[in-house]
Amino acid sequence: MTITEKILAAHSGRKKVSPGELINAKVDLVLANDITAPISISEFRKIGAKDVFNKERIALIPDHFAPQKDIKAAEQCKMLREFSREHDLSLYFEVGRMGIEHALLPEEGLVVPGDVVIGADSHTCTYGALGAFSTGVGSTDVAAAMATGDCWFKVPESMKFIYYGKLNKWVSGKDLILHTIGDIGVDGALYMAMEFAGETIENLPMHGRLTMCNMAIEAGGKSGIIVPDKITRSYVRKRAKRPPVFYKPDKNPKYAEIREYDCSKIPLTVSCPHLPSNTRPAAELFEVAVDQVVIGSCTNGRLEDIREAAMIMKGRKVNPNVRMIVIPATQKIYRQAMKEKLLDIFIEAEAVVSTPTCGPCLGGHMGILAKGEKAIATTNRNFVGRMGHPESEVYLSNPAVAAASAVLGRIGTPEELGL
């Protein structure tokens, strides 16, 4: 069995599961946000269950349109707050204590290796970086799981992606995943578990792994996963709130497909409008002027991402034609960035620093594009209208490329700034 099959077997009380099989599995954590939870809550009420399956295993996180951007958003956030009080849920995170869900939960050790996690948010696949099976579902699936503590799954086939060779300067997990999506397409891993492996992954720090698994959905994947190793153990050692289980695959498990990438050939990569698979080397896009730069999101709003952007911005100014918006993904990251004087660097560079929110990534608030405007962002999707007007454009990149582009006023690389 693959690691994914082993986790699913253990959670469905079976010795063995095979791809294609339908199983009912116990879930360790269920999550939803201010956009998806309101539907989950009303559907949960229709079930007529006396209570939730476990008060400590349901995370409700207002992060998309929070701090509440308008009256309707405030009403939705209120539903989460009231439901959490009514059921005495321990994992409700109020503004000021919250963060972007997929940055917050691993950071707080609330998802641990070996877990099965479902979330009414497609980027729930992020936690595969810890060696958990986690996948995005709809609000109704979350409603059912809140009542029963389990969820039905079709055991996915696994596709293995092996990365070897040394990463080029400034190339990160984001570039590896964008390159991979560019290679296989936005449905290249449809219904599959994407397993990332190889010597480059073994040396990739946890934030890069979280970025890669986060974007498995952009290739149509059901989940992304990395077999736990030393890096996983040291990441969870101080934070895990529950005992982790480090699953390992059997020898020679069956993969639907194995693909290999020589990382020394992977350049700084940008996804052009309007699909994440529409990738080009960043260096070829020097003619694209940008109006806005966003550093943040569940994909690239972690401390290391903020540090990387700050390294580029130190002593430089945001180009006069550009608005730069930096959004640390959680309160902890925000505070640490403050302690490290990273926020000073951005403010001196004439960028704005925002409180944690998904905000502009999905065209919610805090930096919406007008007709004809272009942005380069460290976010995850560049669909039509994703960050604002249907005739605006989003380019996706890693934090270093986005920051360099903010200085240059066009898409560019750190090398162009002598870095």
Binding site: L22, I35, K46, I47, D70, D121, G220
Partner: protein, 167 residues
């Protein structure tokens, strides 16, 4: 069950941001959502369609966000079914959970044109093109999904399960 209607065509990789842009997700009221259905793929769509119309699209329909608002907006707009070459995973699951009829048929996706009149025999998985007199087959619905449909959706199915377990 027979579903008969006029077709609106869409291409490949229609994402859930195109089906219902996030700027409208500060509500989950189906009627409000329906006003903006498919807006970023076809600006005037909600004004053009009539109850009972159908959508036929290419591959990977419903990719991107997990928002259940996408199938809800389609259903509330009066569109009775969606046929596609393939569906993105979460959209597929959501459509069954909320009771939007969807059919996977590469053949129908390739051959059906905008404004064709078609008739879907949901039980047999047969799609008839009344405009061209062609007939296509839809991929069979997995048996578990059929159980969900028979129960009246995931919420009803869960209710029955909880009753059976005595809680």
């Amino acid at each position: 069950m027979l579903i008969r209607g006029k077709v609106w065509r869409f291409g490949n990789d229609i994402d859930t941001d195109a089906i219902i842009p996030a700027r409208y997700l500060n509500t989950h009221d189906p009627k409000e959502l329906a006003k903006h259905v498919m807006e970023d793929a076809d600006r005037d769509f909600s004004g053009k369609i009539k109850a009972g119309d159908l959508i036929v699209a290419g591959k990977n329909f419903g990719c991107g966000s997990s928002r259940e608002h996408a199938p809800i907006a389609i259903k509330a707009s009066g569109i009775h079914a969606v046929i596609a070459k393939s569906f993105a995973r979460i959209f597929y699951r959501n459509a069954f959970n909320i009771g939007l009829a969807i059919f996977e048929s590469p053949e129908a996706s390739e051959k059906i044109k905008e404004a064709d009149e078609i008739e879907i025999d949901a039980d047999k998985g047969v799609i008839k093109n009344l405009t061209t007199q062609e007939e296509y087959t839809a991929n069979p619905i997995p048996s578990f999904m059929q159980q969900l449909i028979d129960a009246g959706g995931l919420i009803e199915w869960t209710k029955q399960k909880l009753i059976a377990h005595g809680s």
